[in-house]
């Protein structure tokens, strides 16, 4: 027998020293931690940390296309108008320094107009010319004034096919757009540095005109020498020059992006919190842990199942909700897609072609129990794609199709679907059997799809489940290859559903179901002609009744978006328009150490 201690010498010496070194490292790192603790705390007290799923793509309003980018761009760049969502009516409001589209009635904290570059605007009686008067005391961070030319310059970029901006749709009503190419010389005029004129080829409702003309500008003097071909690769993209409450301090891609309060900003003012760090934390569990330990202050989209444990573990956390903008649905192919791809002919789908069958499917699905089991108080039954939050247009008279398997069976029987020998419904030798597809990595949809499968099985429908990788799933969806699927939509705050329900299947790229109803097309067209959104209310009420009757899809539930906040943040307002709606007004309560 040999003694353990002997193993370490002489041949084991190197191993022994390695071991010692490791112990030493662990010890010193712990020591280092407490030594650096105060400094870290001081840093934390002036820094708000937001956990993000993914990094920003471009810090350039023309190119930025992720939500993270939009949030950050909104803090760096100035905007022509401020916009707010009026929770009383569900209408968007646009605010210039001295003018508002509508006076909001609600007592909610309102967005300060001081962030707007526009002093005021006038809209011609024919709804074709929008003239902004800009303020003359707005400056880029390098001291140059923000002028009307900056807007015209940037709109040229938004419209340039070589730049391929995701926002070129905003230019679709400008003069020339009807002929395929916006005529910028006529469509946007800048007679002097504080006057900016937009011309439309057709009458446009005022709120839409304001929405579409208030895209974020770039400083023309900084960007004018960059060729459109090099636009995406320009080094300026990583060193943005803005004018908003924050400026970029550092950006370690895929790690963290730090914004510092911009001391000279007057649009509207330097941000309250000195530093805002956006940290990339891809794993959900880790984001949650970090919120719990206080390493980050804000985590978006917390799953309802985690609330109780989270709030119990740390009393300094609160969960706030906002909505309703997002819903899940089960899509039924209304048309026989194989036939449509083969001959272009539209014939009803053998299973889901009839509105009565689709209604039966809706009645057979226990939506309440999906909500009770997963979303709890953060879910609301969904009847159509007009959100209850858009109060002005929402049809509150519609009563949901309740869970009623008996009714479902009767409806199916009336359609000729009768139980076969194996217990599965049959009609003319065809079994009621199909595959319900959904995308991978979504726990909520997995949960719901299992309940749906059981519900349908109990009335004699064989529903198989298949989970596809997201890219594959969405490609199949876009190519109208799936018979039944589960997916979701996030709605825009302006109602414009023709892309999803329009009868022209070539034009309506997102009409995955192939649903066709001429009256619906007509209603959408009529609503668009109204120059004031509330004027279209009657059309939208009828629109909802039609969808409720025809059930082109089974609408499942609206979801509240749930965000976790550290209680050290004060003054945050959640808004349907975005979680970081008034982030420049947030404050951080100092930690106990500093207060002592």
């Amino acid at each position: 027998m040999i003694e353990v201690s002997k193993w370490f010498s002489p041949g084991g010496r190197s191993m022994y020293s390695l071991f010692l070194l490791m112990v030493l490292l662990v010890l010193t790192s712990c020591g280092g931690k407490s030594g650096g603790d105060n400094r870290a705390r001081t840093a934390m007290d002036s820094t708000l940390v937001i956990a993000m799923l993914g990094d920003a793509d471009y810090l350039n309003p023309v190119l930025g296309s992720t939500v993270t980018s939009s949030n950050i761009i909104g803090l760096i760049y100035p905007s022509l108008l401020q916009s707010e969502f009026d929770t009383e009516t569900g209408l968007m409001n646009y605010i210039a320094l001295e003018k508002k589209l509508r006076t909001t009635t609600s007592g909610q904290a309102q967005k300060t107009p001081k962030g707007s570059i526009a002093r005021s605007w006038s809209f011609s009686a024919d709804h074709k010319t929008l003239t902004y008067t800009l303020r003359n005391d707005a400056f880029w961070n390098d001291g140059e004034p923000v002028v009307s030319g900056d807007f015209k310059f940037t709109y040229r970029l938004y419209g340039n096919p070589v730049v391929a901006s995701a926002r070129q749709q905003y230019l679709a009503e400008l003069v020339g757009a009807d002929k395929g190419q916006v005529d910028f010389d006529k469509a946007i005029e800048t007679p002097n540095p504080t006057t900016l004129v937009f011309r439309f080829y057709k009458p446009v409702p005022e709120h839409l005109a304001l929405f579409h003309t208030s895209l974020t500008p770039l400083p023309a003097h900084r960007w004018k020498n960059v060729k459109p071909v090099d636009f995406r690769n320009a080094p300026l993209n990583t060193a943005p020059l803005g004018a908003g409450p924050y400026q970029l301090k550092s950006w370690k891609q895929q790690q963290e992006l730090v914004l510092a309060s911009s001391p000279k900003s007057t649009l509207p003012k330097p941000g309250n919190i000195p530093l805002i760090t956006f940290r990339v934390v891809p794993d959900y569990t880790v984001r949650l842990t970090q919120l719990q330990t206080g390493a980050v202050d804000v985590v978006e989209n917390i799953k309802p199942e985690d609330f109780t444990a989270l709030l119990k573990a740390n009393r300094e956390i609160e969960v706030k909700t906002v909505g309703l903008r997002v819903y899940d649905y089960v899509g039924w192919s209304n048309i026989d897609q194989k036939e449509y791809h083969k001959s272009g002919k539209v014939i009803p789908h053998p299973l889901f072609g009839s509105a009565r069958v689709r209604l039966a499917l809706t009645c057979a699905i226990d939506r309440e129990s999906i909500i009770d089991g997963y979303l709890k108080e953060y879910g609301v039954i969904c009847n159509t794609d007009i959100s209850p939050s858009l109060k002005w247009a929402y049809n509150a008279r519609i009563t949901s199709h309740g869970f009623d398997p008996a009714k479902a069976t009767a409806l199916l029987k009336a359609e000729g679907w009768l139980p076969g020998a194996d217990g599965i419904l049959q009609k003319q030798g065809r079994r009621f059997s199909f595959v319900l597809y959904t995308n991978s990595g979504n726990a909520r949809r997995n949960y719901a799809s299992v309940i749906i499968q059981q519900n349908l099985r109990s009335i004699g429908i064989d529903c198989k489940l298949d989970v596809q990788e997201s890219n594959v799933f969405f490609e199949n969806l876009h190519q109208r290859k799936l018979d039944a699927w589960m997916a979701g939509w996030a709605i825009g705050l302006e109602i414009d559903p023709l892309d999803v329900w329009g009868s022209d299947l070539n034009k309506s790229r997102f009409n995955f179901t192939g649903y066709q109803n001429p009256r619906l097309d007509q209603l959408c067209g009529l609503a668009k002609q109204k120059m004031e959104p509330t004027g279209a209310k009657a059309y939208w009420l009828e629109y909802q009744e039609i969808l409720h009757r025809d059930q082109p899809v089974t609408f499942l539930y609206w979801m509240k978006e749930t965000q976790g906040f550290s209680k050290r943040i004060e003054g945050e307002e959640l808004n349907i328009a975005g979680s970081f709606y008034n982030i420049d007004d947030w404050r951080l309560r100092p930690s106990a150490n500093i207060a002592q």
């Binding site: 280092g32 870290a40 096919p161 901006s165 995406r232 891609q253 891809p282 569990t285 880790v286 890219n471």
Partner: protein, 321 residues
């Protein structure tokens, strides 16, 4: 031996090119569209088309291949689709050192602990210590690493907040001074490297134990003992050197494994390394980045195997290359 190495490297070139060509076609034939993100309501239908044109995806496949080949031969792997058109080489240059650090630290920890535990188990065969170590090693060896990582986070970051859960440094670490910064970095690496190495070390310990037991029974060990050599000299100089031969082969081939192990560690601990780059590139169908990553990992596997063969010859003079 130099001649051998040169020959192996020469063979590696067409091999890697074959792999890249295969990857090039497979990813383009797989479903999914790099411009898919731009196909959504509210975005003009032209955008996806314009983006595809920018990426050069509208050309026929053979044309794309020839263009790509020309660029790669000049050392240009193109620009990333998903990472704001950053040159692919830049993306990798910033990610590779991070993964390399983790992989090397893990490799060292793997073998240090694995060999140590293996020797103890072998020398004290069938003792309580041996059984304890064997069971523990098996326990860790069969544990899924991602689960173990999450458990470590729950234990050492949540219940006993000793270590941080993500990132390479604390917020404001730049202000700690150079020593503080390095210590902070090491402090961030403790959990991930532990997770990655425990599993590997457990496996290596089993190997070392097995081969050590075999060697200890050999005649020459008995001879060494009989001529009165001290026990530690017998174990370390005579037995270990021979017992390590099979382990050396593992060393070469374990580098790619550690690399792929680093993949989920990077996602869980939010390190911007190669693993995360690869996963994100695949999910967003970032063709140039996927190919460049394949190039790196392919080269590593080839080099790793070569390294193992060379080490083998170095450790055992009987083997001639």
């Amino acid at each position: 031996m130099l001649r051998y190495i040169f020959k192996r490297l020469l063979i590696a070139i067409p091999l890697i090119f074959g792999v890249l060509t295969l990857t090039f076609f497979i990813i383009r034939l797989a479903p999914g569209d790099p411009a898919a993100f731009f196909i959504q309501p509210g975005i003009s239908p032209n955008v996806a088309e314009q983006i595809r044109a920018q990426y050069g995806l509208n050309d026929p496949l053979p044309v794309q291949y020839v263009k790509w080949l020309g660029n790669v031969l000049q050392g240009d792997f193109g620009r990333s689709f998903s990472r704001s058109q950053q040159p692919v080489i830049e993306v990798i240059a910033s990610a590779l050192p991070i993964t390399m650090t983790i992989a090397l630290l893990t490799l060292v920890a793997n073998f240090a602990f694995g060999i140590l535990i293996g020797i103890i188990s072998a020398v004290r065969q069938n003792s309580f210590l041996d059984r304890f170590l064997t069971v523990t090693a098996l326990f860790f060896y069969s544990m899924p690493e991602f689960w173990f990582a999450l458990m470590m986070i729950i234990l050492f970051a949540l219940k006993f907040p000793l270590f941080p859960t993500s990132g390479l440094n604390e917020i404001g670490a730049e202000g700690f001074g150079p020593v503080g910064f390095v210590i902070d970095r090491i402090w961030h690496l403790v959990l991930p490297v532990t997770v990655l190495s425990i599993n590997g070390a457990a496996g290596i310990a089993r190997y070392v134990r097995g081969s050590m037991l075999e060697v200890i029974r050999q005649d020459y060990i008995r001879t060494a003992r009989a001529k009165g050599l001290p026990e530690n000299l017998v174990i370390f100089r005579h037995a270990l050197r021979n017992a390590l031969l099979p382990v050396i082969t593992i060393m070469g081939s374990s580098l790619p494994f550690i690399f792929s192990g680093a993949l989920f560690i990077e996602v869980i601990f939010a390190f911007p390394g190669m693993g995360r780059v690869t996963v994100e590139a695949i999910f967003s169908r970032d063709y140039p980045l996927i190919i460049a990553n394949t190039f790196i990992s392919g080269s590593l596997i080839v080099l790793g195997n070569l390294f193992a063969d060379v080490l083998y010859a170095v450790a055992d003079p009987r083997i001639k290359l």
